[in-house]
């Protein structure tokens, strides 16, 4: 699959990349689809689609149980995916990679399995003001269960976490620090390495919500020295319904299972059940086998393109879109210095829902709404925003198509 692209994709590289994604040829209302909703979910390259087809056509079987040929093939493919993910995140061992439904389940797993037995009244959990609901609500549930308190490190008007305030929120009471690597609503990249070190200095463990980061940045969990890192396959060109929780081995080993069932046990009697070792202790029931296989291929595909080329292309798209947004006098929500390819904006006082409906009529898919970050919308005093999020397969022509509709929106609402 190796494409040997350079650090900057050439026009022919970009054509080849677009050809890898069959959905980009779809027409919406007789116009070519312009897909700018990549932060919600990314499209899938043909190689991922083929991998799922191959699995179901040639070696569909349950894993870890059968002695027959197909089961061995499926088990090998499933476990190879775990090794691929471990290598991808630079984890020490593949048993530190737990397959889950997605980032949301990973965070809930840590809250319930790590947090619930440990936290006591007046302990503190620290998050930031730009978190997705999935990195807010599981901690609120945990606070209700344990009497712990949720603290929130504030952001500035550019959408950056105010580092002095973050430090001021940390104390020996802080037991868990849960941070987005990249804000899904604003695109802000958080300086998580420094933030993790500060959390560690007060004895807190750290969880990083990497849902928006994995598609854009190379992540090295050992270099970051985070305790947990979570991401979802579908945002990184893989299938929906599967994600990853990475954890430090000593923490995962000490944690009780999150769910009980088959697959996660060594022996069961009505008197006593002995749980499996890592990682199976956390994978009750038949797992999302084809999801793991698809994720493996998606990560191979990403590797074949190279993060340098991806980052360069996406940065160019962001700069181009930001320039056009200024030219069209749009209010940009989130102007952090360190930002990924997400552009959240308002067209005058026109509600984002109305803007989204009109954009859709011209074949342009964006996300409109509060982006599962209602406290953040409250901070910026907007009910919702229009969010265009770009992937490496997007083009400047597509961004032009987006901004050509803006005067039409204003015409309707003049």
């Amino acid at each position: 699959m190796d494409k040997h692209f350079g650090k900057v994709f050439s026009p022919s590289d970009l054509r080849e990349i677009r050809n890898d994604f069959p959905i980009l040829k779809v027409k919406i209302k007789h116009r070519p689809l312009v897909y700018l909703d990549n932060a919600a979910t990314s499209q899938k390259p043909q190689c991922v689609i083929d991998a799922l087809d191959r699995y179901y056509s040639h070696y569909n079987s349950n894993v870890h149980r059968g002695l027959h040929e197909l089961s061995e093939l499926a088990t090998t493919a499933y476990e190879q995916s775990r090794q691929r993910v471990a290598h991808f995140l630079k984890a020490k061992e593949s048993c530190q990679i737990i397959f889950v439904k997605g980032t949301t389940e990973a965070i809930n797993l840590v809250a319930q399995s790590y947090g619930r037995p440990l936290l006591k009244k007046d302990d503190e959990i620290l998050i930031t003001a730009l978190e997705h609901h999935s990195n807010i609500v599981p901690w609120q549930v945990l606070c209700e269960q344990t009497g712990a308190k949720l603290r929130v490190a504030p952001i500035n008007l550019q959408g950056e976490v105010i580092q002095e305030e973050y430090e001021a929120c940390l104390s020996e009471k802080t037991k868990i620090v849960a941070l987005a690597h990249i804000s899904n609503a604003l695109g802000t990249i958080l300086p998580i390495k420094a933030m993790i070190a500060k959390a560690r200095a007060v004895g807190a463990i750290t969880l990083i919500d990497g849902a928006q980061a994995i598609p854009h940045l190379r992540v090295d969990v050992q270099d970051l020295d985070c305790d947990f890192y979570a991401f979802s396959a579908h945002k990184v060109y893989g299938p929906t319904g599967i994600g990853v929780l990475y954890g430090k081995k000593e923490l995962l080993e000490a944690m009780p299972p999150y769910q009980g069932g088959g697959e996660m046990i060594q022996s069961v009697s009505f008197e006593k059940t002995v749980y499996q070792n890592l990682p199976h202790k956390f994978e009750a029931g038949t797992p999302h086998i084809e999801g793991a296989i698809g994720l493996h291929v998606a990560l191979d595909y990403l590797h074949s393109l190279g993060y340098e080329g991806i980052a360069h292309q996406e940065h160019e798209l962001l700069l181009y879109a930001t320039e056009l947004a200024h030219k069209h006098h749009l209010r940009i929500i989130g102007e952090a210095k360190e930002k990924t390819s997400i552009l959240s904006f308002m067209v005058d006082n026109i509600h984002a829902h109305d803007v989204g409906t009109i954009l859709n009529h011209y074949g342009i898919a964006v996300r409109v709404g509060h982006h599962c970050a209602m406290p953040l919308m409250e901070f910026f005093k907007v009910p919702s925003t229009v969010r265009a999020s770009f992937a490496f397969y997007n083009t400047q022509d597509e961004i032009d198509a987006l901004f050509e509709v803006i005067p039409k929106v204003r015409e309707v609402f003049q």
Binding site: A352, H353, D354, T357, I358, G369, P383, E411, V412, F413
Partner: protein, 151 residues
């Protein structure tokens, strides 16, 4: 502009969005409720003065898209002076029309100005915007204290 879009954002809708009728706080009032659309964050508060099963006065306030604000405004115009039975009947007609129920093709004459919202039929994801104020009305009449959600 595309026909479906023109049908959705027709002049009467845009005019009610720019200048919503009966906008503000009705005090005192006998019934009130808050409505919320979690999909987009739209919020409507509706207050009514009801005497002997007649809607004597009603006002709304809130934030929302053009469709939800225009729909709330049109609702207040349509229901002032109506009986509760008439209000319920109008909601049924309106809801059936927006969701494209087969029996709804004859409703438009009885809907009056509310028929301006028929264009929403072509936009299933926007039906909740148009019905938010009506669900809020139902909650206010039932005197439910908890905010009503369109989900």
């Amino acid at each position: 502009m595309n026909d479906e879009l023109a049908e959705l954002y027709q002049e009467l809708i845009m005019e009610h969005n720019r200048h919503p009728r009966h906008y503000g706080v009705l005090a005192p009032c006998t019934h009130q409720a808050a409505g919320f659309n979690p999909l987009c964050g739209d919020q409507i508060k509706l207050r009514l003065q009801i005497e002997n099963d007649l809607i004597m006065a009603l006002m709304f306030e809130g934030k929302g898209c053009a469709i939800s604000i225009a729909s709330a405004s049109l609702l207040t115009e349509a229901l002032e002076g109506k009986s509760l039975a008439e209000a319920h009947e109008l909601f049924t007609l309106f809801h059936e029309t927006l969701t494209g129920q087969p029996e709804s093709s004859h409703h438009s004459a009885r809907l009056g100005k509310l028929a301006a919202l028929i264009g929403v039929q072509a936009f299933p994801s926007r039906v909740k915007c148009a019905t938010l104020a009506w669900h809020t009305l139902e909650a206010a009449l039932a005197n439910k204290d908890t905010p009503v959600s369109t989900e």
